[in-house]
Amino acid sequence: MHTRIDSQPTHQHNNLKMRVGRPLPFGATVMGNGVNFSIFSRHATSCTLVLYEKGHLNPFEEIPFPPEFRVGNVFTMMVFGLNIERIEYGFRLDGPYIPHAGHRFDASKILLDPYARSISGRAIWGEAPDPDNLYQHRAQIVPDDYDWEGDTPPNIPVQDLVIYEMHVRGFTKHHTSNVKYPGTFAAIREKIPYLKELGVNCIELMPIFEFDEFEYSGINPITGERLLNYWGYSTIGFFAPKAGYAATGGLGMEGDELKTLIKELHRNGIEVILDVVFNHTGEGNEMGPTISFRGIDNKTYYMLTPDGRYLNFSGTGNTMNCNNPVVRSMVVDCLRYWVADYHIDGFRFDLASILGRDQNGYPLSNPPLLEALAHDPILANCKLIAEAWDAGGLYQVGSFPAYGRWAEWNGKYRDVTRRFLKGDTGLVWEMAERLQGSPDLYGDRGATASINFITCHDGFTLYDLYTYNEKHNYANGEGNRDGANDNYSWNCGYEGETKDPNINMLRRRLIKNAITTLMMSRGIPMILMGDEMGHTKYGNNNTFCHDNDLNWLNWNNLNKNADIFEFFKQCIHFRHKHKVLRSHEHFYHQDRGESGYPDISWHGTRAWFADWGDYVLTLAFLLDGSHVDDDMIYFAMNMHWEDHIFEIPALPSEMLWHVFVNTSANAWQHIHPPGQEPVLDNQQFINIGARSVVVLVGR
């Protein structure tokens, strides 16, 4: 092939040869024998490319972009002869430093490329940073030639998902995990058989974009140990996987390691959703470090007050200016990159309501970013999930601008279910709404707009939900002031761990009631990593800063709480087996299968007579699966502190009721494998013990 003209340098700076680059794509891209560098800044007056030999404190070269290398507001340059494996790069940008006008340029800082696809500096988790290093988070250049071997995303219908919310490090860091490289992407790959056995078909990874675990500098007042930003809701680079989560991060191969994990998960029918944080960055407020965006173009990337201070709708000091067209493009580029290059199946957007605010912070009726994501051709098959609120008081559960695409973390499902399950009254009507996919919230959007969950990383684990009345966050170093106060939890009579067998038995029953309810609910269920083995955080409901047993799963709990794991597993498999539980559609409340039964009917202790009174703590529904070639399913909840006898709706004469779940039975009879449920002795009535649930299958 002939040599291209644009592979020839036109300029020289010391020993390096260059020519004008291509403005797109942004970032550093290998093109033939050159590397194309491209960076946006509207307000900078000049830009310099800074090159380091890997790991060296001082740069070996700085190349100012010649004026003719600026195209519009983009500095672009092709540099030839670079050994991409051995260099790190950054930029110096000069321009006005006028904070009250929104400008904070500082040419003494070396800045991270917002489009960096690999970032060194925190490649080995917890390794203390070198304070003499003036450029802490360094961009690296990586090849984009991963061999996916024909991998295609599973494209699991959204109604069939069972999501498992996971922290990469916490999942396997504990020594009991029995993996070769604990706390890494590679270790998750080793645990795929476990995930399959459990039955989840989608993992939602808490933030894996590069962040600085040392950003948080608190001290645990109880142990004296240093606290970290463990959860990672504080992005430094949106295009780079967290190198410290990779066993090969020190080699700059975190991308290959993560892609290999995703390819293997896909082979096993498991999708990957990323929890993404676009509402703010890790640069904090006026007092925070200048890492990237602040020094590249503060006024473009952040929402500012008229006098240049940071608006703080995220509660973390700054707010990304997501509906500025340049920032919006970056978000779209970023998500496209993760889908195209990493085969990611969906995204959950942290504090997503911020993405619907205009540049002054006011909520938009038709937010262009949310609309762009919903209609983007590359994101067309992605699951898009919003945490539909922000720290500025915007609460949009049920009203998030959806464009027919967006689902929401249903916070109302969490709260109502928690309260009803612990015996709060006045909720029976709303509990029924939540069980059937929250049609009151998502009438036009379908049941799959609702991500149903009872626990997530924020707040108590399921075990702690029934072990603690109050949060116990002293170890966080904030005097127990942090974390939610409204936990809707119940300690069953004793705060914390106890040897009282009756209390422990009750706690286990309540855990089982909760997972049963979640799996019986229409919508998309999400469970929190570790709940299936009774993980405890000892009452701490805000463990963002703990790199220890509070967040690391102790895999010995699989033995200690084997009944809980078995129960979770069977409940999930039951859901997969019964199509009538899973649908995008809301119920019609009509006889769709011409069976004589409506698709859903409500019952109380008397069949066909649900009691919707304020004092009521019993509720049951009957699902007729005939319209989808499925069985009849009866789900009854007795959240009263006394036993109740429930009249069971009569089945067609050729069918019998079988018991799948009865949490008031003896522990070894709580649940039976789907398909092998025993016939119910009394087909007309069932005694449901105090604070218990029952699932029957009619076939």
């Binding site: 090849p143 070769k180 490289y181 066993a247 090969t248 080699l251 290959d256």
Partner: protein
Amino acid sequence: MIYNQLLKSATLFVDIMDIHSEENGKVTVIELFGELDSITAPQAQDHILSLVKQDSRILLDMSQVSYMSSAGLRILLVLYREIQNKVGKIVVCGLNDEVRDVMAITGFLDFFHTVDNREDGLKQLMAS
């Protein structure tokens, strides 16, 4: 972790890579010496690929390779694809534990049939 030892070796920047090849019956044995990284990889790739013919049986002996960077691993994959295109076969022998781990974690190992030593590799390729 893997990276500690490999990083140490990577920072030496030795840039030595030697390649020996010999025909053993119908098998071409290629032995690599030194470090395979972005400096040594281009030349190594040209050399190795020139040895791949239609229906080649290649035994790649890695027992003398102390370090493989991302670029080095990519060469192995290019080699694999080239052999596949030419309906040949490749067996890799002599991977040290660290290189094997990196290859396993990053997915490169999945492409290759590996054996402990050259004798086993020859046996398998002769029989294929």
